[in-house]
């Protein structure tokens, strides 16, 4: 089993109203010194069987097709841990 993590973040150039709201709330609560906040999404995909390069490439395609809208978001795909089944 492996867990593949896909992080999706709004692109720098695109307005992120949610991040801005969080930044404002931090400021109001006295947590100063935070210049900017952007709010993204984290997907954890539990993968059956062996995680081959082909499978990983397919998951990258999945991230690009569905999990992220590449018009407004960037994404990264990484393998968090692999456990070998007994």
């Amino acid at each position: 089993m492996a867990r593949v993590v896909v992080d999706v973040m709004p692109k720098r150039a695109i307005l992120d109203p949610q991040g801005r709201a969080v930044a404002g709330a931090l400021e109001r609560l006295g947590f100063g010194g935070v210049a900017d906040v952007r709010q993204g999404k984290r997907f954890e995909l539990e993968i059956d069987g062996e995680l081959t390069e082909e499978r990983l490439a397919e998951l990258r395609r999945a991230a690009e097709t569905l999990l992220a809208n590449t018009v407004i978001e960037d994404f990264t795909v990484r393998v968090e841990h692999v456990t070998t089944q007994a």
């Binding site: 695109i14 307005l15 109203p17 949610q18 569905l66 809208n69 018009v71 407004i72």
Partner: protein, 224 residues
């Protein structure tokens, strides 16, 4: 003329869109998101709503509904398609239209009668208007901010593909006050405000929205 109106799980303006089609003189054909068949319609309306709960991004999951395969294919060949609100989001997620819709800049759901300027009368859905005409139709959205990169925005402006623009205050932070756009061929139009709620004064602020539906019926009649 048979105008298909797609119902997705969560669609809430499909009945109004069908009614607008009928008031404009067309035959409204109910299409179901789970069917991959367009029933031979002459045009399609993707109505507003909260399709699939918009869990991932607005329209992102709806874009992969079975009905969207034939719609995308037909749209690329010239089928008139109008996406209103959530329908606009679905068209952007389908890459039939450039850009994307994000949460309103003020983070509040906005519901009001919105003044708009029709910028282009050369699309399948706006030929009954004249360029520069001002109209008032309802607007209601939480994620209605139109965004795209500068190059895309410049291209849309340069090619006359901004179809409607907000007047009297930008309700949601849309870049360059853009309320609606079209594809290069002018058959696919997406807009955030709701013309289907302004087709008769009994239950709308105006009947200004009727022009969208009259336009496509006129276009289809002329093509016959």
């Amino acid at each position: 003329m048979r105008i298909g109106v797609v119902t997705f799980p969560g669609s809430l303006d499909d009945r109004d869109a069908a009614r607008a089609v009928r008031i404009a003189g067309g035959e409204a054909v109910a299409l179901w998101h789970g069917d991959a068949d367009l029933a031979g319609v002459d045009a399609v309306v993707l109505p507003g709503g909260f399709s699939y709960g918009d869990y991932l991004r607005c329209g992102a999951i709806a874009r992969f509904a079975p009905i969207m395969g034939p719609i995308i294919e037909a749209a690329e060949k010239g089928l008139p398609v109008l996406g209103i609100c959530n329908g606009f989001q679905i068209l952007c997620e389908s890459h039939l239209l450039p850009g994307a819709l994000v949460r309103n800049d003020r983070r509040k759901f906005v519901c009001r009668d919105q003044r708009l300027r029709v910028e282009s009368d050369s699309t399948a859905w706006t030929s009954a208007y004249s360029a520069g005409q001002e109209i008032v139709v309802p607007l209601k959205n939480g994620e209605g901010g139109y965004v795209a990169d500068e190059d895309t925005l410049d291209r849309l402006e340069g090619e006359g593909r901004v179809v409607v623009r907000y007047l009297g205050g930008n309700p949601n932070g849309s870049y360059r006050d853009i309320a609606g756009i079209t594809n290069a061929a002018g058959n696919v139009v997406g807009l955030m405000p709701h013309p289907e709620h302004a087709v008769e004064t009994l239950c709308g602020p105006t009947s200004d929205g009727l022009g969208f539906f009259a336009s496509v019926l006129g276009r289809l009649a002329a093509a016959r």
